[in-house]
């Protein structure tokens, strides 16, 4: 009893001990904040990567791909059996996205992916990242009448306003068509001698280079389909759309002065994509597409590179369909496994069945291996460094406790003269250490959790104070600092901090226990 009372009194009266409490508090709070941010970052990143990549990716090397995806999928299903939940073939090609802003053309290097909208949604969460509510329910490459999100869906109305999105979809397209018609009419009136190709050519340099496209297509029907006339002459923009594409949000969006979002391209605009054909040597083909939605995973690496189009169209344009059999090539097959299936085991089974020189089979983790490993290593090193901070606090406790033992020498003598055992005296200082550790880590826990909860306010405060952006979403994948509080991590941090506090108090406590009562009583 006296041990508890005395260590409680010591805690109340020895203000110097507050120094060690504060150091434990800061150490624990820092560890909690850093771990929460790191695991939030890892979790969010994995979540987003996994949202794009399916569990397993079955790749053919090269741009040409492998033929007959159906045969491959059957074989995969035979090998992996019940573990497969869904599969979908895809075509990946590097491409150039071209669109016009005012009188200038903007070119962006992109990753052009041909997907089957229905089955692709079954293997990945990518439909969640679309900006039209109906597309999120059921992804489609058809332009919508309107109703695209005006704010970030996750962040709500306080997030930056998306200028122009209120018109996006068919209204925007109709307005463009009207403007274009008016412009053409004005041109005709002013310069009636110009031929139609010249007029259109001024507005669309891509209209003249459709030849490789024709060459890449099967010879049948090219003449009928494209004819001698330029496409724009027979195409009513106000009522018709080109093949739909979903482009990454960051490919279209720019920041305004106020932080609001403006767009260089909106759903309803036409864009051109230039990409290589499947033959050898690959030739560049260009095609006209209509943007039907944006894709925003908030992983800037993906948002600034991905363009999705219907797989059929891409196979057709790249010449991936065998003209005799009608069987199309694909680049890869995305596989979703049922919940709880062992990713690695299925991957290894498939690797054993398909020759590695033709197929590369990897899990989504393998695909992002270096990134995930880097983050993991960073977390480990940070943890070691931060635990050293608490160890420093431990040495602080050691020094302060020695001081307190010296200061309390006479009291120790008194306790011993009253019959307190060496173990009893030792227990006072050990429980004192434990108490300091508990108070310190308790305060650290509260501080850390508060910090994590209000981390964005803290970030804003620091940005306001320093005048420098602390967290740039364009660098760090995310709009907000992601956090994830793992209870196991908290238990470990607190147990570690308390252990260090107790270990640091062992030496002073031993010294106190060994003090000779007479000498202690005489101590001045």
């Amino acid at each position: 009893m006296y041990k508890l009372i005395l260590c409680w009194r010591y805690l109340q009266t020895r203000y110097i001990a507050l120094a060690s409490v504060i150091s434990v508090t800061l150490g624990v709070a820092t560890l909690i904040v850093v771990n929460s941010v790191m695991s939030g970052f890892t979790h969010e990143m994995q979540h987003r990567i996994h949202g794009i990549l399916s569990d397993l990716v079955f790749d053919g090397h090269g741009l040409e791909g492998f033929s007959d995806s159906r045969w491959h999928m059957d074989r995969i299903r035979k090998i992996a059996g019940d573990d497969i939940e869904a599969m979908t073939p895809t075509v990946h090609v590097p491409a150039m996205l071209n669109y016009r802003v005012g009188q200038r053309w903007v070119h962006r290097q992109v990753n052009f992916i041909g997907i089957d909208a229905k089955t692709y949604a079954q293997v990945s969460d990518c439909s969640n990242y679309l900006q039209h509510p109906e597309n999120r329910m059921e992804p489609s490459f058809q332009l919508r009448e309107g109703g695209y999100d005006l704010h970030d869906r996750e962040l709500g109305d306080e997030s930056p306003y998306r200028h122009g999105m209120e018109m996006a979809g068919w209204p925007h397209r109709r307005r463009l068509a009207t403007e274009e018609k008016a412009w053409l009419a004005a041109q005709k009136k002013n310069r009636p001698k110009l031929t139609i190709p010249e007029r259109v050519g001024r507005s669309d340099p891509f209209s003249g280079i459709d030849t490789p496209l024709r060459a890449a297509e099967s010879e049948a029907g090219v003449e009928q389909r494209w004819g001698p006339l330029s496409k724009s002459q027979v195409f009513d923009k106000a009522t018709q759309q080109e093949t739909g594409v979903i482009i990454g949000y960051a490919l279209a969006q720019v920041l305004g002065h106020e932080g609001d979002h403006y767009f260089l391209v909106l759903p309803g605009d036409d864009v051109k994509l230039t990409f290589p054909t499947a033959g050898t040597p690959p030739k560049a083909v260009s095609g006209s597409f209509t943007v039907v939605d944006f894709y925003q995973s908030k992983m800037s690496e993906y948002d600034s590179a991905f363009v999705f189009a219907p797989i059929k169209k891409l196979q057709e344009m790249r010449g991936m369909i065998d003209p005799t059999t009608g069987i199309a090539n694909v680049n890869s097959i995305q596989i979703k496994l049922r919940e709880g299936a062992d990713l690695e085991a299925v991957r290894d089974k498939l690797r054993a069945a398909f020759p590695p020189e033709i197929y590369a089979i990897s899990t989504w983790r393998d695909k992002q291996g270096p990134l995930l490993a880097a983050v993991q290593m960073e977390t480990a090193i940070l943890n070691i460094l931060l635990f050293l901070i608490i160890a420093v606090a431990g040495f602080g406790i050691l020094a302060i406790f020695f001081m307190i033992v010296v200061e309390k020498t006479k009291d120790i003598g008194i306790l011993k003269s009253l019959g307190a055992s060496g173990a009893g005296v030792m227990a006072i200082f050990l429980s004192y250490g434990l108490l300091l550790g508990s108070v310190g880590s308790g305060a650290g826990l509260i501080l850390g959790l508060l910090f994590v909860r209000h981390i964005d306010s803290v970030r804003k405060g620091v940005e306001w104070l320093s005048g420098q952006p602390v967290f740039d979403p364009s660098i760090y994948y995310f709009q907000q600092i992601p956090t994830l509080v793992d209870p196991r991590m908290i238990v470990w941090v607190i147990a570690g901090a308390m252990a260090i506090a107790v270990i640091a108090s062992v030496l002073p406590a031993l010294r106190a226990a060994r003090l000779h009562p007479v000498e202690a009583l005489r101590y001045e």
Partner: protein
């Protein structure tokens, strides 16, 4: 005068006491303690309650050895109020510490009733200090963090452990308050030592020494730091305790006038009883 008569009595009885204890020498210390604990009547039968036989003690200061006690023999009867006087540095406090098991002699033996206590293991000695001896000091030695009541309760807390203390805390507090009332401090229960006068602190220390109902009260210069009036008050309290409760008291002092108020006075000169 009184000292020489008592010395003669001690000599005659001492022989037989020595005889009985020597017979038990071979037995382990803890066993002796058990025997003594189990058989309360042994105190009634013995002629002395506490005794030192041929006690030597040296202190080391660097390389130098300072002999303090050089063969002290002393016996104190039950219910006796003994004063040990001597000049400062003569070793009287050391003798008291040895009797109170705060320290061990270099040679010689200390007996409580018939049982040797100087060679007991530390835990048994801790128990003796807690339950059998009450100690008071010149500088009171109260814990500054606790109030008067807390200081008085301290030996009970040490004795009973956490749950034992919690179970009986009402009784204990009642007992502590009664003792503080007895030393006329019932109005100072909640005061910290720094808010008390010297006399009040010493009275608190006496209450603390008495809380576990000890058999022997060992007082090291209890008036040494007090003015005459406060000192006299302390002596009155001790005398009353001795008279009313037959408490054995050993008091060390350098003040002859204070010593005269004890039943018997022995003089310590150059490490020996004169």
């Amino acid at each position: 005068m009184s000292s020489s008569t008592s010395q003669a009595t001690d000599d005659s009885t001492g022989q037989s006491a020595l005889q009985t204890t020597e017979n038990r020498h071979s037995e382990g210390g803890s066993h002796i303690l058990n025997t003594w604990n189990a058989d309360e009547n042994s105190f009634q039968e013995s002629f002395f309650q506490i005794a030192a036989r041929g006690v030597h003690k040296k202190y080391h200061k660097g390389a130098n050895e300072i002999p303090v006690l050089q063969g002290v023999d002393i016996e104190i009867r039950e219910g006796e109020f003994l004063a040990i006087v001597g000049q400062s540095g003569c070793g009287k406090s050391t003798l008291l510490h040895l009797m109170g098991t705060l320290d061990r002699p270099d040679a010689g033996e200390i007996y409580l009733a018939d049982n040797r206590i100087d060679n007991l293991p530390a835990s048994a000695r801790d128990r003796l200090r807690n339950e059998t001896f009450g100690l008071i000091f010149q500088f009171y030695h109260l814990l500054p963090e606790l109030n008067a009541l807390g200081n008085v309760l301290l030996p009970l807390m040490i004795r009973h452990g956490f749950f034992g203390y919690l179970r009986n805390r009402r009784d204990f507090r009642k007992r502590a308050k009664a003792l503080l009332d007895k030393v006329r401090l019932s109005h100072r229960l909640r005061h910290k030592p720094r808010e008390l006068s010297g006399g009040e602190m010493q009275r608190t220390a006496i209450a603390r020494a008495l809380i576990n109902q000890p058999r022997v009260l060992l007082a090291d210069e209890p008036t040494g730091n007090l003015d005459r009036v406060a000192g006299q008050e302390i002596i009155e309290i001790l005398r009353n305790l001795n008279a009313s409760e037959n408490l054995t008291i050993v008091m060390v002092t350098h003040d002859e006038k204070i010593a005269q108020q004890a039943d018997r006075t022995v003089r310590l000169v150059e490490g020996r009883i004169e």
